[in-house]
Amino acid sequence: MERVPKKNPDIIWTNLRGEIVLLNSVNGRYYGLKKVGCAFWEKIDSTRSLTEITELLFEEFNVEKEMLVKDIEDLIKTLTANNLVTLD
């Protein structure tokens, strides 16, 4: 959780009425992110670690921390598997 996520520079994205749409401009694939996924994505700034982002999300969402950490772990697996983010 001390690793720092970075957005793939080939990804273009926009927040459309509370949901984020991501497009991989190289292969044309698109993805959607909802509530927690949106908040996570918008907090990725190439400096914050996963722990720091999780702390920010914990302040933002009224959920159990254990559950939030599990959600973030699942999310980061999906994001890295689809080459949307890399971990430094």
Binding site: T14, R17, L23, G28, G32
Partner: protein, 330 residues
């Protein structure tokens, strides 16, 4: 060989189509339904379609190295044709092995298609060597195609998208049967002037034989452009009851889903739900800059037009009434 030369008005841009390949060009004015352009000194876009021997293709359109290859596969037409696509900056090549080759130069707004074989039926040649090039050239000029049908309902553009089989064509034809004009049942061009506009370059629609009598009260009214494998290519414009329109202000985009129930239900929807039906295929064939431009354009459009979820019922009278009521709101 005879040389053909036409200048069309494609949503306010002049497009020259020329060359000597008769199977594509002799009736291109029937394939497309774009008006002629008044002024023709220096067309903004140019598409040349010419015949060539295979060795001449290599000389006139040399391919870039394999490092520029972005995609390859098979196109299913009257037979399978292998294709490979290459992109290098503002240039793109599509090689149809043994059939022909295209080179697009987006900076110049031009495309050269060389065809070396009659193996591909002329209607498919028009799709691959004319329509494809035109689509990509328009993309480079801020006119973007999406997979959607569209009708003009009381002069307002209502477009329908959705997965394959969701009823895009059926929805458009149902509205046409109620006297409303349609623009397309398949490929819709979107661009922005004062508002978002929707347009179509062709009035030819493709209908399967078994759907003809269900969708059209009088299919004989329409000129049959071609028939391939039980699919009828009907030309809507020019008939006595012409219900085709090439341009309309786009007011709403609807995501269709067939329910099998009689009545249609229309509700609001988050625009992100429409993205899936709009992008596949069409966004991959151009360079990353144009993909990004198309993405940005469509996202902004979704923010600014009405988005609806249409549970598409089987009662077409009910569907038409509800779409008319929807149009009245805008």
């Amino acid at each position: 060989m005879k040389n053909y030369s036409y200048i069309f008005d494609v949503f306010g841009k002049s497009l020259s189509i020329s060359g000597d390949w008769a199977p594509c060009l002799k009736d291109i004015c029937s394939w497309y339904a774009m008006p002629q352009f008044e002024r023709s000194n220096a067309p903004e876009l140019a598409l040349e379609i010419a015949g060539a021997k295979i060795e001449e293709i290599e000389r006139r359109i040399p391919l870039p190295g394999t490092g520029y290859k972005i995609r390859s596969g098979k196109i299913v037409a009257n037979q399978d044709f292998d294709f490979t696509t290459y992109i290098d900056g503002y240039k793109q090549w599509i090689d149809y092995a043994g059939a022909g080759r295209i080179m697009l130069d987006f900076s110049k707004g031009s495309a050269l298609s060389l065809i070396c074989s009659d193996a591909m039926l002329s209607t498919y040649q028009k799709y691959l060597f004319a329509d494809y090039s035109l689509d990509k050239l328009l993309t480079s000029r801020g006119i973007f195609s999406i997979h959607a049908s569209c009708a003009s309902v009381r002069g307002k553009g209502i477009a329908f998208t959705g997965n394959s089989g969701a009823g895009k064509s059926t929805a458009a034809f149902a509205l046409m049967q109620k006297g409303m004009s349609i623009l397309t049942d398949e490929k819709l061009f979107i661009f922005k002037d004062a508002e978002y506009s929707a347009g179509s370059v062709s009035d030819i629609i493709k209908v399967r034989y078994d759907a003809l009598s269900k969708l059209f009260a009088a299919p004989d009214l329409y000129h049959e452009y071609d028939v391939i494998a039980e699919e009828h290519y009907l030309k809507l414009g020019g008939s006595k009851t012409s219900l085709w329109k090439n341009r309309v202000t786009l007011k709403a985009l609807c995501l269709l889903e067939q329910t099998g129930k009689p009545k249609t239900e229309i509700t609001s929807i988050n625009p992100t739900k429409l993205v899936g039906g709009l992008f596949p295929v069409t966004i991959t064939g151009v360079n990353p800059e144009y993909r990004a431009a198309k993405f940005g354009f469509i996202m902004e459009m979704l923010e600014n037009i009405e988005c609806r979820f249409v549970k598409f019922g089987t009662d077409m009278d009910d569907f038409a009434v509800k779409i008319e009521k929807l149009a009245d709101k805008f």
